[in-house]
């Protein structure tokens, strides 16, 4: 069974990032060959894979005047473009310029130019995401004051021009958002999920006020774009999530009839969102915005024993990675019978007291937990 052990072996390597403060986000590009990191030290760094498992720093620049919360890549069809958002109340769009092809062998750092600065928010911009490619070049930001803003670059060749298409107030502070990446244009209208980190006390107060939109005490809201009314409307609120949400991620949907949404809150949750056929809402038709979903918590894991900060899906939506205050990455995978199980834990040993930070990259190996029945999974 040598083959099995080989696949179960995970290689861990530490990259000396040299950020001067906490790294808040790591993002791979479309192909997984470039990586961007952003940090409270207001810098963004871009790393390129050398193809043999190593990563080389190719750009590093001060991007904002505050902590950079998130970084995200645009689809490569639009060029080498990233967007960042920051505590300094702005989001920025950066494009790599210069001779990417010719002097690839040069040691020199590549330059990233700020193409646009989105300054509409009056509070910290907590998340930024590019929309699915088939919708054009869209960008959505959300801010701590609860406003979701959707920008569009009408001309994909001109990244300096972004028009604010929609402004959606939510009345609660928004910490994270996720586009539904579904490729199906017909069945699934453009959809966004946002998560709120509003502490429960004030939300309760808001509910007392009798505001209908916040009557649902949930922390995750689903917004959908209606082609007929040309507006984004809140179509659902997941009442199953009551705790402040730190991160949210739709699983890539390559052909499912339902959506999987991972939520990082006090625990890791996987929520299955199944659009209900329009039988119920036929009377209202398309414009009724009454298309509801059947939401079901497929799994909830408390194994982090503490606050969960991030969740991320793999390419096919079959594997979920989560990280929490226990500083461990846990991988979750769907096993037989739609059960999700932990298949691996990567833990960075916290450094003892005053020992100097590890400055040298080193490699450790970790054995993946054996999966119950690997060959029963069709995707194996």
């Amino acid at each position: 069974m040598g083959e099995l052990t080989a696949t179960n072996l995970f290689e861990s390597q530490i990259i000396f990032a040299d950020h001067k403060d906490l790294i808040h986000d790591v993002a791979y590009d479309f192909y997984g060959e470039r990586m961007a990191t952003c940090s409270s030290d207001q810098y963004v760094k871009v790393w390129d894979s050398d193809g043999h498992g190593g990563w080389r720093l190719t750009a590093s620049w001060k991007a904002h005047h505050g902590s950079v919360w998130k970084v995200t890549w645009a689809h490569p069809e639009f060029g080498q473009v990233i967007a960042t958002c920051s505590f300094d109340r702005t989001a920025a769009i950066w494009e790599e310029v210069g001779d990417t092809a010719a002097s690839g062998s040069e040691k020199g750092l590549r330059t990233w130019l700020k193409r646009s600065n989105l300054v509409d928010s009056r509070t910290s911009v907590t998340d930024v995401k590019f929309g699915p490619k088939h919708l054009g070049l869209l960008l959505v930001t959300c801010s701590a004051d609860g406003i979701i803003r959707i920008y569009e670059a009408p001309d994909v060749m001109n990244l300096a021009q972004w028009t604010l298409q929609h402004e959606i107030p939510t009345k609660v502070s928004i910490s994270c958002l996720s586009w539904n990446p579904s490729l199906s244009r017909v069945v699934h209208p453009p959809m966004l999920a946002v998560g709120s980190d509003e502490p429960n006390t004030t939300n309760a107060a808001a509910t007392v006020q009798g505001d209908k939109t916040t009557a649902c005490n949930g922390k995750v809201f689903i917004y959908e774009y209606s082609e007929s009314s040309r507006r984004w409307t809140r179509t659902d609120c997941l009442s199953s999530v009551q705790e402040p949400v730190n991160d949210i991620a739709f699983a890539p949907n390559l052909g499912r009839s339902f959506h999987l949404l991972a939520v990082a809150t006090k625990d890791v949750r996987i929520i299955k969102i199944e659009p209900i056929a329009e039988s119920a809402g036929t009377g209202a038709g398309n414009n009724g915005a009454t298309v509801r979903f059947k939401c079901e918590v497929v799994a909830a894991f408390e194994e982090h024993y503490s606050c969960v900060w991030r969740v991320c899906w793999n390419l096919t939506g079959t594997l979920l990675a989560s990280s929490g205050d226990d500083c461990a990455v846990r991988l979750w995978k769907m096993q037989y019978l739609n059960q999700w199980k932990c298949v691996a834990v990567f833990k960075n040993e916290p450094l003892p007291g005053d020992s100097p930070p590890l400055s040298r990259p080193h490699t450790t190996y970790m054995r993946l937990a054996t999966m119950a029945n690997p060959s029963h999974m069709p995707f194996h």
Binding site: I23, S173, S323, Q335, Y336, S375
Partner: protein, 1026 residues
């Protein structure tokens, strides 16, 4: 509304400054329209005195800054916008407290400040660039300091050197003066790139903090040569800065614009504020600490005066997301985590402290940290903060590799569907994707038959085809060959079964019973033959055993069943993963159920292939037993007979060959940790030997050993079952029924004692059955079964009931009834499975059913929906590849399959697969998919944003498509394009420079470009080969 420890009072106008008296019991605030003294109570501010009184409220009352003498209780000084410095005496009787006005500055005075030890000394800094030291006793200007810079924004006496003071100016420079020497400053340096708005001396260290419009706060060590110790990066111009008392590394700041909040920073963590106070709704204009580290006052342009308590601070360091994780398209995981995680804070404040300041709402909820937690937090950054960035990757990520490899190897067109399917099935199997391989096999089978049917030969033709070359599943065990050749006659049904056996190997659920039990009336020869070869099983007993097997096989789902009989190693090779872990699980569960006593409730979902032993899938124990029993029976009656016995009997080869093969198989199992299978196999082997030659004498010790093994493994139940089987065996071998009864009774008792009523019931049933065969007609079966089903249903085991119904159905069908009834029942069972979340079983059953129907009568019309369902299943499980490629392969037959798949879903799958391929940079495959696609929306992808302009390679002019150049010389017109390097005709790939359109063989061009800059054609262009 306001947090209890924070107090606030609103004014008629915004205050520009505030100052505390010596013992911090009173505060004065001053602005253009406000000038008041408040006393600071525990829960409120009380106005003590309003200084803005009198008849002529001139500009002297319009203050920029205010200072309260640190020595004299009643002495105040204000800096007025008109350049006046006004001294006030609160002790004066009468309404006006104004003591003296110094009108020496020409322009606005920005700052006044008292000497820390000399009560009569007051210093001012003005917009005119001068600082003046006033002597309050003499009521005159003692000295004038000319900065020679731009406007002075702040002056502060040093607490460390009695006579020196610092002054900061709008050109970014900091000056250090000796108050006794006005000629020149002691020290001057440029601190910031923009105006410096404020400075503050550290109470203990020789540090000066400066705040600037360049959005930074800098901390300078002014001992000797100024040295930049720390830089704090904020999001806005910094207007004021104040060190926090008793906290060496903490400094409070407020912004001049944009940011309304007051931030307290730890200079060692310069990017994220340690604490934030966001009560103000407009920019904060001044801050002052109450001589102790937990309270400070602030005034704001929103006309309010606040007292903040540290216990109500928000802590951005806590809610700043400390982690990042990302999974790449390559399956790599990047993870950023803090090197030192934040200290575990007391649970109580955990929830509320994560509030977001600056929401723009009136009262942001302030989180409250206990003093202990605050202290822990403050200790958390001795060396700042940093993250560890690590990546985790599987060196060869199996899933990705299989996906990519399959994507590369799959063929999507260019042959008939069944050939493609076979190719793809082999590909899938080669990459260990058995489920996918199954799907392909089904496709192959279905379309092979169809192809055959198309040729006009109904069923036998493909059979013949396959019988002879027998190429398909490569690792077909040898015995199958023999079995096949010998046993399979021309009868199509049998072929079916054989196929099901070999292909599904484990999953011939329905096929199995059909083969050995119910078909017999239809085809006696087989059983006769079996009898002959085996030589020991009477037809009746075989039937009996099989019926039993059939009845209870289904719930087990096929997989484990077929595992138990020991196919020689190669057979295992096909599904090692499938079978063995299964088996182990099963039996484990059995243990648990058995030992757990009567409490075991047969869970709703018996998980047939359940690899995952979750709580939700406790299999009904009875089932397992029955299944187990089966193994045994089958081993004897069926597995042994159809597999081993036949082989041994028919093929001439002696046992010599069987033994090593079996031994290998057992070893394999043992390596996989599946001792139980090994034991069972031993049993079967036992059986086999017994049949082959040997007397029972050998069986007993071996069985005893096996039982011991089981018992040692804690599996008493299995032992019991084996005992039963052994019993059975004896019964067949020689003995009358008389012996069975007591033994069975004993076994039942045993089970009952173990709390396993279900098994008891099942055994009773079997016994029943047995009786039935022995003497009685079928009439008795029905009520018994019904009772058993009721029992199951009562026990909550709907699945078993359904499956039994199925079997019963099956039985009826064979017995008398038409297939019409099977379908709804199966549908119900599948639904049941699906509801129970067991999509995979449903799919496999569907597949099998598929198979079955097809063989039974095969109206091809029915194939499509089932296949569509299977594809959907795969897609939902995340395997869009299979769904998409099957569709592509079958697109010629799309008329029958595709109606069952929405066009939008087809598009979704194709787009999903294309995206997947693109992520892995499999452009060629992706393009192939686009080319093969029948959907306009997909197909058009290759048509979009691609325009092809054709130029003449010689003259560079644009030509019409598919035509020679019009403008070139007619002689040249039809000459082919030559390689610019070797001047030969280029066939195949022609690489050219897009700049000058000269080119040639790719390798020639590459070689040329390695050494040259210019075009090989000599046109002088600096070519670039993209």
């Amino acid at each position: 509304m306001i947090p209890s420890n924070t107090i606030c009072v609103s004014q008629e106008g915004p205050a520009n400054a505030l100052a505390l008296n010596k013992d911090c019991s009173q505060v004065v605030i001053a602005g253009r329209n406000v000038f008041k003294v408040f006393s600071i109570g525990e829960n409120e501010f009380t106005e003590v005195c309003n200084l803005r009184v009198g008849k002529n409220l001139n500009l002297n009352f319009s203050s920029i800054d205010v200072a309260w003498s640190t020595i004299e209780e009643n002495t105040l000084a204000t800096a007025a916008t008109n350049g006046a410095v006004v001294v006030w005496n609160l002790g004066r009787s009468g309404r006006s407290k104004q003591e003296h006005v110094f009108s020496d500055h020409k322009r606005t005075v920005n700052k006044v400040s008292f000497h820390l030890t000399e009560p009569a000394l007051l210093i001012s800094g003005s917009q005119d660039g001068m600082m003046k030291c006033f002597d309050l006793r003499m009521k005159e200007v003692a000295r004038t300091f000319i900065s020679n810079t731009e406007s002075i924004r702040d002056v502060q006496f040093s607490p460390h050197a009695a006579h020196s003071f610092a002054a900061v100016s709008e050109n970014g420079s900091v000056q250090l003066w000796d108050v006794r020497r006005h000629e020149r400053c002691l020290l001057q340096y440029t601190a910031h790139s923009g105006p410096v708005f404020a400075c503050d001396w550290h109470p203990d260290m020789p540090w000066l903090a400066t705040a600037s419009r360049d959005k930074t706060i800098k901390v300078w060590d002014i001992y000797g040569k100024p040295n930049l110790e720390h830089t704090i990066y904020t999001i806005a111009s910094v207007g004021h800065v104040k060190w926090r008392p008793q906290k060496q590394y903490q400094v409070a700041s407020c912004a001049l614009v944009l940011d309304c909040a007051v931030h307290v920073w730890d200079v060692r963590r310069p990017h994220v504020p340690l604490a934030t106070f966001a009560e103000h709704r407009d920019v904060t204009t001044a801050i002052a600490w109450l001589a102790e580290p937990h309270t400070f006052l602030s005034t704001s342009r929103d006309c309010s005066l606040y007292r903040h308590r540290f216990s109500e601070a928000a802590h951005p360091v806590l809610w700043a997301n400390p982690q990042g994780v990302c999974v790449s398209a390559r399956g790599e995981i990047a993870h950023a985590a803090p090197e030192r995680p934040l200290p575990a804070l007391p649970a109580l404040p955990a929830a509320p402290d994560r509030h977001v300041p600056g929401l723009g709402r009136k009262q942001p909820t302030a989180g409250s940290l206990s003093p202990h937690a605050q202290a822990a937090l403050e200790r958390a950054f001795p060396g700042g903060a940093a993250s560890t960035l690590s990546r985790h990757a599987a060196p060869g990520c199996a899933r990705t590799l299989a996906l990519v490899a399959c994507a590369r190897a799959y063929r999507m067109r260019g042959a008939s569907p069944h050939d493609l399917a076979q190719h793809n099935a082999d590909v899938a199997k080669a990459h260990n994707r058995h489920m996918v391989s199954h799907v392909w096999e089904v496709v192959r089978c279905v379309y092979l038959a169809r192809a055959a049917a198309g040729r006009g030969t109904p069923a036998p033709a493909p059979l013949q085809d396959r019988e002879l070359p027998r190429p398909e599943p490569p690792p077909l065990p040898p015995y199958t060959h023999t079995y096949h050749n010998n046993a399979v006659e021309e009868e199509p049904l049998e072929e079916v079964e054989d196929w099901a056996e070999t292909q599904f190997h484990n999953s011939g659920v329905l096929g199995k019973p059909t083969l050995s039990i119910y078909i017999p009336p239809a085809k006696p020869p087989k059983h006769v033959r079996a009898e002959e070869t085996a030589g020991w099983v009477s037809a009746a007993s075989a039937h009996y055993v099989d019926t039993e097997a059939a009845d209870w096989t289904l719930p087990e789902e096929a997989f484990p069943l077929r595992t138990a009989p020991p196919p020689p190693a190669p057979a295992h090779h096909q599904h090692p993963h499938h079978t063995s872990p299964h088996h182990v699980r099963h039996d484990d569960k059995e243990h648990n159920a058995g030992r757990g006593g009567g409490g075991t409730s047969p869970g709703g979902s018996s998980s047939p292939g359940s690899g995952s032993s979750g709580s939700a899938c406790t299999a009904p124990p009875g089932l397992e037993h029955a299944g187990y029993q089966h193994h045994m029976h089958m081993d004897e009656g069926e597995g042994g007979d159809s597999g081993l016995a036949i082989r041994v009997g028919d093929a001439k080869s002696p046992q010599l060959e069987v033994a090593p093969l079996l031994a290998a198989a057992l070893k394999l199992h043992a390596e996989l940790g599946d001792v139980q299978t090994a034991a069972v196999v031993m049993l079967v082997l036992q059986e086999h030997r017994y049949h082959a030659k040997s007397p029972q004498l050998e069986v007993a010790p071996l069985l005893a050993a096996a039982l011991k093994l089981h018992a040692e493994l804690g599996d008493v139940q299995t032992a019991a079952v084996v005992m039963l089987v052994l019993q059975e065996h004896r019964y067949h071998a020689k003995s009358p029924q008389l012996e069975v009864a007591p033994l069975l009774a004993a076994a039942l008792k045993l089970h009952a004692e173990l709390g396993d009523v279900q098994t008891a019931a099942v055994v009773m049933l079997v016994l029943q059955e047995h009786r039935y065969h022995a003497k009685s007609p079928q009439l008795e079966v029905a009520p018994l079964l019904a009772a058993a089903l009721k029992l199951h249903a009562e026990l909550g085991d709907v699945q078993t009931a359904a499956v039994v119904m199925l079997v019963l159905q099956e039985h009826r069908y064979h017995a008398k009834s038409p297939q019409l009834e099977v379908a709804p029942l199966l549908a119900a069972a599948l639904k049941l499975h699906a509801e129970l979340g067991d999509v995979q079983t449903a799919a496999v059953v569907m597949l099998v059913l598929q198979e079955h129907r097809y063989h039974a009568k095969s109206p091809q019309l029915e194939v499509a929906p089932l296949l569509a369902a299977a594809l959907k299943l795969h897609a939902e499980l995340g395997d869009v590849q299979t769904a998409a490629v099957v569709m592509l392969v079958l697109q010629e037959h799309r008329s029958d399959l595709f109606p069952y798949i929405d066009e939008s879903l087809q598009e979704h799958w194709l787009l999903g697969y294309i995206e997947l391929l693109q992520r892995h940079k499999l452009w060629n495959v992706a393009t192939e998919v686009v080319r093969c696609a029948w959907l306009n929306s997909v197909w058009v992808m290759s048509q979009q944003s691609t325009s092809v302009a054709v130029c003449c390679g010689r003259c560079g002019r644009r030509t019409r498509p598919h035509a020679a150049c019009d403008s070139c010389h007619p002689h040249l017109r039809h000459l082919p394009d030559l390689c610019a390097v070797c001047h030969q005709v280029v066939r195949g790939l022609y690489a050219w420079c897009q700049g000058c359109s000269h080119g040639g063989h790719l390798h020639h061009m590459r070689k040329w470009m390695d050494t040259h800059q210019l075009c090989p054609a000599g046109c002088g262009h600096q070519c670039q080969l993209a």
